[in-house]
């Protein structure tokens, strides 16, 4: 493909919030449509004490991930993206509420490619679609927050993703964020 992007000011915002092994942390990466970083923010790890786990109970995970970390880190971003992307189903609704832009869940699939770039296929799950973002990959599954899951909204988001996919791998920033967080964690002597 030969694509000359004129989208210097268009950005995608990637959100990652992890709560594995009792340590909660989050990161956002805002890239332009070429995958080049425009903003990157991360939180210090939060390790709830045993007492806090008892006090908060099962709400602790939701509270830390969806309210504290997500709201704080999305609010701290200075370069506002056109579209927020997350890969955790639980984060989609709170991200949609918090962010000033549209939000979508993006996930890889093993499905056969759709006929042409830009094609969409509605899925059984409400607000969920397969999109063929480029000609040399499996279709991606996008899910929209339910109250906003209109087909026009999905088409607008798909168009944005197709444009970006011409010059970047749409899922790649997640792995870069993971590497950056791992490196920062090692630097700060975390286990």
């Amino acid at each position: 493909m030969t694509v000359v992007s004129h989208s210097g000011t268009k950005n995608l915002g990637y959100l990652l919030v992890d709560g594995s092994e009792g340590v909660f942390r989050g990161a956002v990466l805002v890239t332009d449509f070429r995958g080049i970083p425009a903003d990157f923010r991360y939180t210090d790890p939060i390790r709830p004490s045993r007492i806090e786990k008892i006090l908060y109970g099962s709400a602790l995970d939701v509270y830390l991930k969806e309210e504290l970390i997500l709201e704080s880190i999305v609010g701290a971003v200075e370069v506002q993206p056109l579209l927020w992307v997350c890969r955790d189903t639980d984060l989609l609704e709170p991200l949609s509420r918090t962010a000033k832009a549209k939000a979508v869940l993006l996930a890889p699939t093993n499905r056969a490619p759709l006929d042409a770039t830009g094609d969409m296929e509605k899925q059984n799950d409400p607000g969920s679609y397969l999109i063929q973002a480029d000609s040399v990959s499996a279709p991606l599954r996008i899910s929209l927050p339910l109250p906003k899951s209109k087909e026009e909204e999905a088409k607008a988001i798909a168009a944005m993703l197709v444009e970006a996919a011409a010059t970047m791998d749409l899922l790649e920033p997640f792995s870069r964020m993971g590497k950056a967080l791992a490196a920062l964690g090692e630097e700060h002597g975390e286990q």
């Binding site: 990466l29 704080s72 701290a76 970047m168 792995s175 920062l184």
Partner: protein, 210 residues
């Protein structure tokens, strides 16, 4: 039963004697215990760390300039200064560590938890972009090759003109690329082929996929 008890039992049984012990007050001290309790309070979160003012200055975008000058030098230049400001170009250091303004810190506190959001775009920018092998989804492989060439991998999209450096990650089969953002606009694809007509060497070929 302890050995002392066994000895006493046998002494009573066979000797008819009972060992009598007296309680001597010497060496015994009465221990007084109070039922009062001291309550220890622990905060749910550790106390906030206090950053040095120099670091806060850096985080808050305050420009810190100047350095210490000796009293003698100060006296000598003082008379020549009649107004305005002057500064000596010195580098700010805390405990020998140079303070670099590379991150902005946002503090948020909610429900007893405090989260610090640290801006560090300078830390992720040097990381390479990892480009996957797209060969399994490429439909036009037969049209793109010459005789004797075997297609091994297809990396796409790659911004050709902005490509500064690329490294093939043989373990993962991915291509790590670094871009010059000022020149990286035109997206193309890169073939990795083995050319048997020239001795089986590996070759890279730029192509356009429509």
């Amino acid at each position: 039963m302890s050995s002392e008890d066994i000895r006493t039992y046998l002494a009573r049984l066979f000797l008819g004697k009972a060992k009598v012990r007296s309680l001597r007050p010497q060496g015994k001290e009465v221990v007084l215990r109070t039922v009062g309790r001291v309550v220890e309070t622990h905060p749910l979160r550790p106390p906030e760390r206090v950053l040095g003012s120099a670091l806060y200055g850096s985080a808050m975008d305050v420009l810190v300039k100047g350095s210490c000058i000796s009293k003698a030098v100060h006296e000598a230049v003082k008379g020549n200064i009649r107004g305005g400001t002057f500064s000596f170009d010195g580098r700010l250091a805390v405990k020998g560590e140079k303070v670099v303004r590379d991150r902005r810190v946002f503090l948020h506190s909610l429900g007893g938890f405090t989260v610090r959001c640290i801006g560090a775009v300078g830390r992720i920018t040097p990381l390479p972009i990892e480009v996957r092998n797209r060969l399994p989804w490429f439909r036009g492989r037969s049209n793109s090759l010459k005789k004797g060439e075997v297609l091994l991998a297809l990396y796409s999209p790659i911004l050709e003109e902005g490509l500064l450096k690329s490294v093939l990650n043989k373990e993962r089969g991915t291509l790590l690329v670094w871009y010059n953002p000022r020149r990286a606009w035109k997206a193309r694809s890169l073939f990795l082929v083995r050319n048997f007509s020239s001795g089986g060497s590996l070759e890279w070929k730029w192509i356009d996929i429509h």
